[in-house]
Assembly symmetry: C2
DNA sequence: CACGTTTTGGCAATCGGTTGTCATGTGTCG
DNA sequence: CGACACATGACAACCGATTGCCAAAACGTG
């Protein structure tokens, strides 16, 4: 049909196109689509019909610019290739999508600098941020949280909403498990020095060990990668312990491989406990005894907490801290202590 | 200092703040920052100093709105939790960051509908799109590529730039390997029906089998998850083959687990070949013989091809197709055919 | 029927940049 | 020394939506 409008080009439709088609003002279209109550139901239906007909998709940039809300949430993880984060990412992705948000996933490469600059960057282009296993200092996190809605995962800083995974308590379970199997000298293969969860876990472990009269020693730090497992295994063997609790499954799996290479039997000569129950923990050789937790759920909870900050509609203050339970999953990598 | 300007608030600095500080127009600031040559070097330096002093960070929304360029690239994968994509994602992330782009990672949940709507969505908020293992039809992909710069990975559609992983040729290698071990009846455990790589691989495999006088049969389809491995293993056992080539490592690993449960020895009773050499393929039990390729590099190449589309500065036409080599990595899951 | 109240919808400013146009100012050359 | 090209920077129009403000319309009531 011959139209007098400038161009019904192939270009995506805007509210102006809709307005022209309906013979109303662009602002009315905007209202009809975002605050339906402020507009006559019949006008609204005409507008909705026109929007559908034109395959209208709102321009998120423009919306962000004028409203200040971007509809995006940044999710920062230290290492995308660490399977631990798969489930977390999956959880955040699902929950964010359900709420109509877009996930901006960034790998901070275990670097506090990348993390800091990303947080700063995201302050403009995201409505909120979820930071997993932050490498930032408490102060930096606190400052960031003051400027942007932010939720941490596995990082406990007073004043910053957080989802915590209760590995410390699972650590005691792991210790009990090993002690009951007759192990008396146990090593903790520590994670990065900047990792708060590693520190918390070691504290819990050494306290629990004292109560039970077991001896624990701390080795490392080790990078949370399977490659570090070789060094960890060698350190463990050299230290003479009969059982190890690793910072995470990656290190534990790496140890398994190295010990096998060295002809040291797991669990006959050495027992290994991992942490996180990542992809692979159930099919490595031997299958790994590890501390499991509902990671995907942690991601969902983190999103919920963040959204509660963004839309403080609920009267009661939103939960600002959530602790995910963790339990020990016993598989084949732990067994009775070798006879001396 | 007492300033006459409206507000030196805590709010992030804009080019207007810089302009006011330097006593020039905002447009000059814009030019100084984006087209430095168009501005006097001394003015420019003053502006740059002011920008640094004010910790100026450009607002990406505003920039996107007026320039049309968002500085973001969408990366679509069917399943974030599939380890195959870790390396790909890592590759795209690194290369994109190096080029100053932001990665928008989306999990399309193996759904063509989600994929289609995401592509449409991203058309506005990203400068280009990389689609891994697309579930869309050739026509849909072609149409999308016409509207948005787009590169596919592992999906060959004429007219759409693509990075292909040459698993078909590796499939022949795998077949040779198995035939030389004495296997005569071999099953291919197919992937999703919508997966083009699965189809291509089957074609290559059946052709190669004909040349070599081996018998191959196709079982499935199976979902690319370890859970499907159980069904795959049972189907393989029932079919009476002595060796299987699986669509990917997830299925292969699942088969390993199931066969172990059923007391069938790998590789004594059954040989298994996977594909992708994902995380876990080297430490499962037994370690998996699999077809390996430089996935991270594939991600980087995909980004390069996309960026070449975005900035067609090079005179010669950009490469529109790139094939990544694949080779067979022999580990413990394959061995001589059992004596009949 | 007049008046007050509530809906309803239009106008225009605004978000923070980019970019085309144009008026200067500077330098070079014949 | 005049003419001309070019470098420079100001102005203003946009990009596509949101939103405060106000006027017109619709409604109800006495």
């Amino acid at each position: 049909m011959a139209s007098t409008r400038p161009a019904a080009a192939d270009r995506p439709a805007t509210i102006h196109d809709i307005a022209a088609l309906c013979g109303v003002a662009a602002s009315t279209v905007s209202r009809a689509l975002s605050t339906p109550d402020r507009v006559n139901i019949r006008t609204r239906q005409r507008i909705e019909a026109a929007a559908a007909q034109l395959h209208y998709i709102p321009n998120s940039q423009a919306r962000a610019l004028s409203s200040g809300r971007t509809g995006a949430v940044g999710v920062l993880v230290p290492d995308i290739t660490n399977p631990f984060y798969f489930d977390l990412i999956r959880g955040t992705q699902l929950q964010l999508k359900a709420a109509g948000y877009t996930q901006l996933l960034v790998d901070t490469e275990e670097s506090d600098e990348v993390e800091a600059s990303t947080v700063e960057q995201l302050r403009k282009s995201a409505d909120g941020i979820i930071v997993a296993a932050s490498r930032l200092s408490d102060d930096a996190l606190l400052a960031a949280a003051a400027k942007t809605p932010l939720v941490t995962v596995n990082r406990d800083v007073p004043g910053v909403p957080a989802v915590l995974i209760d590995t410390p308590s699972a650590t005691s379970q792991a210790l009990d498990h090993l002690v009951s199997l007759g192990h008396a000298r146990i090593a903790y293969m520590a994670g990065p020095v900047t990792s708060q969860s590693s520190a918390r876990r070691w504290t819990a472990l050494s306290e629990a060990a004292e109560e039970r009269g077991a001896e624990v020693l701390r080795l490392g730090p080790f990078a949370p990668k399977t490659q570090s497992g070789a060094a960890a295994a060698d350190a463990a063997v050299h230290s003479g312990v009969t059982a190890c609790i690793a910072f995470n499954d990656l290190i534990a799996i790496g140890m398994l491989q190295r010990l096998r290479e060295r002809g040291i039997s797991v669990p006959l000569d050495m027992s290994i406990v991992g942490c996180d129950d990542i992809f692979g923990a159930d099919f490595c050789n031997p299958p790994l005894t590890t501390m499991a937790s509902p990671i995907e759920q942690a991601g969902r909870v983190a999103v919920s907490m963040l959204l509660a900050q963004l839309n403080p509609l609920a009267v009661g203050g939103a939960r600002t801290r959530s602790v995910m339970p963790t339990h020990l999953t016993v598989r084949g990598s732990t067994g009775p202590a070798p006879l001396t």
